[in-house]
Amino acid sequence: MSDSEQNAENRDDLPKAAVRQRHWSFPIIWVVPLVAAVVAGYLVFERSRAYGPTVTIVFKDADGIRAGETWIQHLGVPIGQVTAVELADDLDHAIVTARLTRARVSVAREGSVFWIVRPELGLGNISGLGTVISGPHIEVLPGTGPEKKDFVGLETSPVILERRGLKVVLVTNRAGSLHPNSPVYYRGVEVGVVQDTQLSSDAKVVNVNVFIRQRFAGLVRTGSKFWNVSGVDFNAGLFRGVEVKLESLRSLVAGGVEFATPDDPEAKPARNGMAFPLYSEAKKEWLDWSPRINIPPEK
């Protein structure tokens, strides 16, 4: 009897393997898609939450602005990204479309101003140096008005980034060396800047728009006197010798304005848009004025 025959004969004698069906098994594997769904749901929710409104900004020149690369920033915090740069139908403007990230307080509102930050080399100040290698970015100064989607960008960066402060107009015959960014001093301390210098509508005088920081706004009263401290004042006399007056090195190149306020308790604080004459030099007594004016502490 050969082996195979014997095997065949014995096969029926061999015990059968018991086949056991598992009746109940917890479908633990379905936990995997459940976890995946939770994670994915959370991620998608996060992503959709990050999408804020889309705004369009019209610029005269969008040189260096690139879709998908240029960010909109406020105080150095990225709050949006450019998604498209197109030419306007009049071929005279560039339309920049940007998607803002969602925030509790949106900057897509009336009064917001956008401008492109590029390296700037000015008298007495250099700014935007970081953008030399990174390319320009768009900066925004948030407004406070109702919601808005379409903006017109500024050509140059606004002189001052603070939103609150006192704006007054100084009227003079010649702008001299005053130009945007020239400092405004009170007792030699910088309390504001010149925003711009413009000819009046009838070209008779020059209007110098001045911004005084909110903290120092109380220093300007109705009787305040403003004078120009630009440049150097040479005074040579036979008995006095040579007298050189110079407010600061910066005012030498950038020009500057100083003001003083008389000690008059009746005088009211200046209001926004108030006009003051700008004198070419200070009278002796102005320099002696020292009224007591409370300045709020720095925040």
Partner: protein, 179 residues
């Protein structure tokens, strides 16, 4: 289904009766994670101070714009189309096996073999990124970082491979239910 020795209880053969459920569950998980994998950037790059984020789709578009058509098509297929097709294929296989269908058994076996063979290749992106991230670290000048989309993307690939592994191709050849 487990076959045990009737005398000593040793497991002689095991047929994962939950093979289909396993495959289906893992494929479903992969399909769900496929969404965040594609909407989140898988790559964040700082280049000379500029910052960009790239999803897989962004990468394809950018490659296409740079006239790297071949690479763009490869990336598009390897990273977007093929993972999705693999999942569709797995769903098809589990569904027909569950229904005990007898149609196109050869073709279905072929589909399974293909899915099984190209499994690890989908990981190419992840490997490539890992190398890129390790290499490009020039501090301030240029750096590459993984984006939040990389983890779901890698999970999709791994889950797909696991789903393929847990699928028992013998199930394609089960006799029809109504026989």
């Amino acid at each position: 289904m487990v076959a045990e020795c009737s005398r000593c209880g040793t497991i002689l053969a095991r047929r994962g009766h939950d093979s289909l459920a396993r495959t289906a569950a893992l494929s479903l998980a992969a399909l769900i994670l496929y969404v965040p994998a594609n909407i989140y950037p898988i790559l964040r790059m700082y280049y000379y101070g500029a910052y960009t984020e790239n999803t897989i789709w962004d990468g394809c578009v950018r490659l296409f714009q740079d006239e790297q058509y071949l690479v763009a098509v490869i990336v598009f297929f390897a990273s977007i189309v093929i993972p999705f097709c693999k999942l569709l294929g797995l769903f098809y296989l589990t569904a027909t096996a569950k229904l005990g269908s007898a149609d196109r058994r050869r073709e279905r076996t072929l589909i399974f073999k293909i899915i099984d063979a190209i499994g690890p290749w989908a990981m190419l992106d992840v490997f490539l990124l890992a190398i890129l991230i390790a290499l490009v670290r020039l501090q301030q000048l240029a750096s590459v970082y993984p984006g939040p989309g990389l983890l779901p993307f890698a999970s999709v690939v791994v889950l797909t491979i696991l789903a393929t592994l847990s699928f028992d191709p013998k199930l394609i050849w089960e006799p029809e239910k109504d026989e």
